[in-house]
């Protein structure tokens, strides 16, 4: 085949310009900006070296934000993966209840995280919300969910898990459809019980899907913003301020560009680390058939 270098470059040009200007350049530029600090009013910037990073690492509030982000990630990823795996297994096992029930579980896919927050916000209302009414019916007394520093994060977590389940169920159902029928039937012949069948037959075939869903969920959780902005605005007392939320506030409300850029670099490293660690773990556990 003849080479067509000119045409190839023309075809690539739009992509290279856009990705260059709006992804590659800003990724590198963030590092540069993080070494500067800008005067809020004059807009003049001056070189401060690693001062922004030192600032971050020596303030307790940054570590607190990091801790909140990790808790938020842990508390959303594990329940949403486990619950959607159970839902997908049950949906897959029962051909009769697929239609409506399946739609119900997948529905949150059509709802953005901001809208999901709007669906939940009044459920959490401390005086007239339905959640506290249900707790009241069982004789308990519900907290002021989004206004109480101990409960606000849990409130955001529940709404997030609710939304995430839709996506995860899609992937698990797709993964389950690739478990060969003969394999399951063969294990039935062997007299394997339900749990053994899940553990030894279904899960190994499903493990790449589980791994994929885990990675995507962790990355999504680390980047969550919309539902936090609507439900709590990072409060109360900063108890739902995640890394992205802090970045937004320092960068676009306090205009501390350099400081926020250092946070962007930190977030980048954290996401790479989280993904890397999971790949490391997956090497031992995931079975690619």
């Amino acid at each position: 085949m003849k080479a067509h270098p000119v045409l190839a470059w023309i075809l690539l040009l739009p992509t290279l310009v856009i990705l260059g200007v709006f992804v590659a350049y800003p990724a590198v530029n963030s590092i540069y900006l993080s070494l500067y600090e800008m005067e809020p009013f004059s807009g003049r910037s001056f070189f401060v070296g690693i001062e922004n990073y030192r600032d971050l690492l020596t303030t307790a509030s940054y570590w607190h934000t990091l801790r909140i982000t990790l808790w938020f990630t842990l508390l959303t990823v594990i329940p949403s993966v486990v619950l959607s795996l159970i839902a997908a297994l049950a949906l897959d096992a029962n051909p009769y209840c697929r239609g409506v029930l399946r739609t119900v579980f997948l529905l949150p896919v059509a709802i953005s995280s901001a809208m999901a927050a709007m669906l939940w916000i009044f459920i959490y209302n401390p005086t007239a919300g339905y959640l506290n009414y249900i707790i009241d019916c069982f004789g308990g007394k519900g907290p002021n969910w989004l206004g109480d520093p101990h409960w606000a994060l849990i409130g955001v977590v529940i709404a997030t898990v609710w939304k995430e389940i839709g996506f995860n169920v899609i992937f698990f159902l797709a993964g389950l459809s690739s478990v060969p029928q003969e394999l399951r039937e063969a294990s039935l012949m062997d007299g394997a019980n339900r749990w053994q069948r899940f553990w030894h037959v279904v899960l190994p075939v499903l493990s790449p899907t589980v791994f994929f869903v885990m990675i995507v969920s962790v990355i999504n959780s680390l980047q969550s913003f919309g539902q936090i902005h609507i439900l709590t605005g990072g409060g109360p007392a900063g108890e739902t301020t995640t890394l992205v939320y802090k970045l937004y506030r320092d960068g676009f409300q306090y205009f501390r560009t350099g400081y926020a850029s250092a946070q962007a670099v930190g977030l980048f490293i954290l996401i790479l680390l989280a993904t890397g660690v999971q790949f490391r773990l997956a090497k031992r556990k995931v079975h690619y058939g």
């Binding site: 690539l12 800003p26 963030s30 009769y96 059509a110 669906l119 797709a174 676009f252 560009t257 850029s261």
Partner: protein, 278 residues
Amino acid sequence: MNQSAQIKQTRRLATAVLFIPALVQFFPLFYLICMSFKVGGEVMSYPPDLLPHSLNPINYQTAWESAPLWRFLLNSIVVAGFITLLQVVTSILAAYALARMEFRGKKIIFLLIVATMMVPGEVTIIPNYFTLARLDWINTFYALIVPFSASGFGIFLLYQFFRTLPKELEEAALMDGASRLRFLIQFVVPLSRPAITAFAIYAFVGAWNQYLWPLIVTQSTDMQTAQIGIGMFRSQNESTSWGVVMAATTILVAPTILLFVFTQKQFVRGIAMSGMKG
């Protein structure tokens, strides 16, 4: 226990396992609709009635009149529509060049494009904001669309698909004197319809759901997307009436839900496929 009995039992167990969670999963949406019909003291009454006393659409009327909800939806459609269209076109062109043509530096370009998938959007927002400010694009459609008009992920997905098409096809077509571009449009694109549709759905959902970036670059009501509009609407109206806020939410969330319910099959396949390849 014999086999068919075990299968039947599994099915019964599955229905039982699913029923309550399905109710819980559906509840927020049901609650939203109930709330959107509640007026006056009904909203804050305790113990709360789940169902509204009447299906009075007054909240919908108030919501529609007190904010340009149609404008929010239109903005979202324009922004998500253009982002999807542009991502699909640029990705087809780039993926075709990478998958089916030979030129120097191809490997490194491919690696660089794939590497852009690793960069989270939050890392780029500050420099991008400056770039757009310099272009004087803040609070315009350009700001909402242009930065997302190419996609490393889309190229990667289509690249894998284009590579599976047989080489002979191309040789025959080019022998007949068809140009490269005509071959791309007449053969490659139709043959890759499933992958392109999957990616288009994925791109549209992502663009529609964007929050942080539109929040930063829109300043006036007439540029806000549905996601940003609803937040503004709520902070302006929650003290007066939650019923109206919930009516506005219902209006803004209804189009995507209806779209999903009617295109569920393609939708699910699209999401599953772009996930599995990615």
